[in-house]
């Protein structure tokens, strides 16, 4: 079975967010980039399923410029077989979905996995766009994925519960915990990753449909009002009379 795992390159979760002086772009200076944490679930689960099937391939796909290659290599070190990078700045979700759909169509993949959303743009959009562009089902967000032949059984999170969904290949799923325990690269993986194929392709001509006008940081908090522990009940009065939330 052929798995395609889409990964994005995002600032480490502890990053202090700042922007370029015109507030049009995220300021990358000095920032550590990682594989989007949600995508790690997709990657590890694809590898596990491939191993369980005793054959097949896991291809990782990233839409990004050359500076994303260290994290693509990391995905190869974790256990993907080969990689494709679409050489473009990921302008918006639509643009990225178009790139993924084009690669997926060409490659005839059976299962297309990605993380629930990227932690930088928090779009939670690409999965559905890719599914619709390819005319195949999407299951998002998926907490569990098992395969039996060409049929997948997934648990899909809904507000207040979950659905058990069955779909046949090909399909798209966006992944989240507790799907698996994300793997980290071992020494052997890091060695072999260096020689695994990483193909760079040019993007399609599609234009994005949204444009960032500017970014802004949230207003700073006023500072905390401390209430002595002996007088804890006072807090409840403040919440009613001052904050007016209860």
């Amino acid at each position: 079975m052929k798995f395609l795992v889409c990964i994005s390159n995002v600032p480490d979760t502890t990053t202090k967010i700042t922007f370029t002086p015109d507030n049009k772009e995220f300021n990358k200076a000095g920032v550590q980039f990682v594989i989007n944490p949600w995508d790690e679930y997709a990657l590890t689960r694809a590898i596990e399923l491939k191993e369980a099937q005793g054959g097949g391939t896991v291809t990782v796909l990233n839409v990004g410029e050359a500076d994303t290659e260290p994290n693509i290599r990391k995905a190869l070190a974790i256990g993907a077989d080969d990689a494709i990078r679409v050489n473009a700045h990921p302008k918006d979700a639509f643009f990225v979905a178009k790139q993924i759909a084009a690669i997926a169509k060409d490659g005839g993949y059976d299962v297309i996995l990605m993380g629930k959303e990227s932690i930088d743009y928090n779009g939670f959009q690409v999965h559905g766009m890719v599914g619709e562009l390819l005319g195949i089902p999407t299951v998002a967000p998926a907490m569990k994925l098992d395969m039996n032949g060409n049929t997948a059984t997934l648990e899909r999170e809904i507000e207040g519960g979950k659905e058990i969904v069955e779909v046949n290949t090909p399909f798209v799923a966006s992944c989240q915990q507790p799907m698996c325990e994300p793997r980290i690269p071992n020494m052997r993986g890091i060695m072999t990753a260096r020689t695994k194929p990483l193909k760079v392709v040019e993007p399609t001509a599609d234009a994005p449909r949204t444009e960032v006008d500017h970014f802004a940081l949230p207003p700073a908090k006023q500072g905390v009002k401390l209430i002595p522990a002996e007088n804890a009940g006072e807090l409840i009065k403040l919440l009613r009379n001052e904050a007016k939330v209860i």
């Binding site: 559905g128 766009m129 809904i158 207040g160 969904v165």
Partner: protein, 325 residues
């Protein structure tokens, strides 16, 4: 031209988050000089749908096909696309829920629309542009985004818009059929398992949340969290390590890799306030932190705080709430 809003219903009632998006849609309609139509999904009653008039909705479309009671991505997408065509909708508004995101992303392709999720404010339409503000970087920033296509789809984050209430106003409910076939239900769920709510409040819909971290020491102490939540009518939540070791179910885990909540009140008990935890809660209107360590980073993000032992403070708070009521 019109504005279409997707309202999610459950057990006959319109969800609170959908009352907010309906209010958002009717205000957008007003800005654009048109009217807002709702299309209902899930299990609804005609009487409750008619009440969407209170949120400024002009009419409500409802397809009574019984298989639409549970979420089915294919069928919902087709239904809403058909309603958008019939109403010539230029703007489509949804809740930023798991349903909204699943359907909205597919619809954006089918209807060739620009899509913005996680939207927190009404659009700005100066100079012929259509710009919405959305949360980005896991709550650490906002982005003003221009939607360039002729059609726009907006998924509105919960608790960012006040629901309107024009008492007694009703909207006509029209039956609507998207002529759905079996093929549209191919991805219908085999089974739907709802959490055992046990009289509690669902976290994603909650206005008040009481949350516990590793400082609670073990699952046997969660009665302290539950008692306060119960007295307040709040939902319960937890930090990641707490759900990782199964003290609490995974669906209570909030943060960067869990769910994002934006209630009116978030009370954090024995949670240090790691940046990944804050990402899931920092758009809460009021944050209260109870922690025995005065240096805990959470205090910097808090509005009110108590430096103290949760085992001592929580019972006092519960008692104070009971006295208030």
């Amino acid at each position: 031209m019109s504005v279409l809003v997707v309202v999610e219903c459950d057990g006959g009632e319109v969800k609170k988050s959908s009352l907010e998006v309906a209010s958002y849609a009717s205000q957008v309609a007003q800005m654009l000089g048109t009217t807002a139509t709702a299309v209902a999904v899930g299990e609804a009653t005609e009487a409750n749908l008619a009440k969407l008039g209170e949120q400024g909705i002009g009419k409500v479309l409802y397809d009574s096909e019984p298989r639409l009671k549970d979420f089915v991505n294919g069928a919902y997408t087709k239904l809403i696309a058909a309603a958008a065509q019939q109403e010539d909708a230029k703007v489509i508004v949804l809740a930023n829920s798991n349903i909204g995101a699943a359907v909205g992303s597919r619809l954006s392709i089918r209807l060739e629309a620009s899509l913005a999720t996680n939207v927190v404010e009404l659009p700005k339409t100066d100079g012929g542009k259509f710009v919405v503000k959305r949360g980005a970087f896991s709550g650490k920033a906002f982005a003003d985004v221009e939607l360039e296509s002729d059609r726009k789809i907006i998924a509105v984050k919960k608790n960012s818009i006040e629901a309107l209430h024009e008492d007694g106003k009703t909207a006509p409910v029209e039956s609507f059929s998207a002529q759905l076939t079996d093929a549209d239900f191919a991805d219908a769920p085999k089974e739907v398992i709802m959490q055992d709510q046990a009289g509690g409040v669902l976290l994603p819909e909650a206005d008040l949340v009481v949350s516990g971290g590793r400082g609670m020491k073990g699952p046997e102490n969660w009665n302290l969290i539950e008692d306060l939540a119960k007295a307040l009518g709040a939902a319960t939540a937890c930090s990641k390590p707490v759900s990782d070791v199964d003290w609490r179910p995974h669906h209570e885990h909030v943060g960067q890799t869990g769910i994002t909540v934006s209630p009116n009140l978030y009370i954090a008990c024995g949670i240090s306030g790691a940046i990944q935890h804050l990402a899931g809660v920092n758009s809460s209107k009021v944050i209260v932190v109870i922690n025995k360590d005065p240096e805990a980073p959470f205090f910097k993000a808090a509005d009110y705080g108590i430096v103290g032992d949760v085992f001592d403070v929580l019972p006092k708070l519960t008692e104070a709430v009971k006295q208030l009521n």
